[in-house]
């Protein structure tokens, strides 16, 4: 059985080995970008049926951002929506025969987690300035600076391991059951895997929102801090 930590090299472009996850990632990117371009080419005020369906998706993303971050979704919609769409499509790409989800490999997840790490800094600096962003590290008291600094690294790592572990374990378990039992037996597991994939995409997007909201709302003086909206309670 192949190790889940290595990936198969398909072909070489010059000296660079191209693996299966890279090809699948580029295919998903082409699908999303091409689909988005085709759909938004002819937008109208009175939406067609397709446009209305996709407006519903955008509206749902907006609603989630508004509920979770308690800010206007404008600046965050593109990043969060793209994260969700990419991970969702990547997790469900196992429906295509012969394709392994790229999120089942450590490298893709590392790239996604790194994106969130950079986005927290970027959105934080944009919302509250560099001083405000640095001040969030000393949020409850300056004693917490090392802990908060460590937290910003470990939560990125846990974001990476969570997505990798969930998707990879699904693929791995299906491989084991397939080699033990036979052709049609792993189908219920695959259905469960689709559910896990959708939930993990949702959770990844939610956690990215929570991390960004932690910086954006902490740097700003809040008139009435409500305990329900405090994102610091998450590890």
């Amino acid at each position: 059985m192949n190790s889940p930590l290595t990936s198969v090299t398909l072909f070489h472009v010059g000296p660079v080995p191209i693996t299966l996850p890279v090809v699948v990632t580029w295919a998903i990117m082409a699908l999303l970008v091409g689909g988005g371009h085709l759909l938004t080419r002819r937008l109208s005020l009175v939406p067609s049926r397709t446009q209305a369906a996709f407006e519903l998706i955008v509206d749902t993303v907006d609603g989630q951002i508004r509920d979770t971050m308690r800010v206007e979704p404008g600046p965050y919609r593109a990043f969060i929506g793209t994260l969700f769409a990419f991970i969702f499509v990547a997790n469900w790409s196992s429906l295509v025969p012969g394709v392994e989800p790229p999120t089942a490999h450590l490298e893709t997840d590392a790239a996604l987690a790194l994106l969130v790490f950079v986005a927290v800094i970027w959105f934080g600096i944009r919302a509250v300035g560099i001083r405000g962003y640095l001040a969030t590290f000393a949020f409850p008291s300056p004693i917490m600076i090392p802990l908060n600094f460590l937290e910003s690294l470990t939560r990125t790592f846990s974001l990476l391991v969570r997505l990798f572990g969930n998707v990879m374990s699904g693929v791995f378990v299906i491989g084991i059951v397939l080699s033990l039992a036979g052709l049609l037996v792993p189908i219920p597991l695959m259905a469960l895997d689709l559910l896990t994939g959708a939930v993990q995409a949702y959770i990844f997007a939610i956690l990215a929102m929570v991390f960004i909201a932690g910086v954006v709302s902490e740097g700003r003086p809040e008139p009435s801090p409500s305990p329900a909206a405090n994102p610091r309670t998450l590890p």
């Binding site: 190790s3 889940p4 930590l5 290595t6 509920d67 846990s158 391991v161 969570r162 990798f164 572990g165 969930n166 990879m168 374990s169 791995f172 939930v199 993990q200 949702y202 959770i203 939610i206 956690l207 929570v210 998450l234 590890p235």
Partner: protein, 84 residues
């Protein structure tokens, strides 16, 4: 098979089996509490289930960490390269 490989296999199995106990108990408690809250306040079911999902993912991560450790031991064990 040397004793280091044997110990890796046994400890991988132990990591997954014992590492799954805690998250399982925690998830059970979390779901029970969420059910309780939804039964009391059905109108806030959507907020509760969203928080529940995120919380479950957090708890589940602990078991996933154990799984990753086990897979590291089985497939990418750095100690096995030390011994000839």
């Amino acid at each position: 098979m040397n004793w280091l490989a044997l110990a890796s296999i046994v400890s991988a199995a132990m990591a997954v089996s014992f590492g799954a106990i805690g998250p399982a108990l925690g998830e059970g408690r979390a779901v029970a509490a969420a059910m309780d809250a939804i039964a009391r306040q059905p109108e806030s079911a959507s907020t509760i289930s969203r928080t529940l999902f995120v919380g479950l993912a957090m708890i589940e991560t602990m078991a996933i960490y154990c799984l990753v450790i086990a897979l590291l031991l089985l497939f990418a064990n750095p100690l096995l390269k030390l011994t000839p």
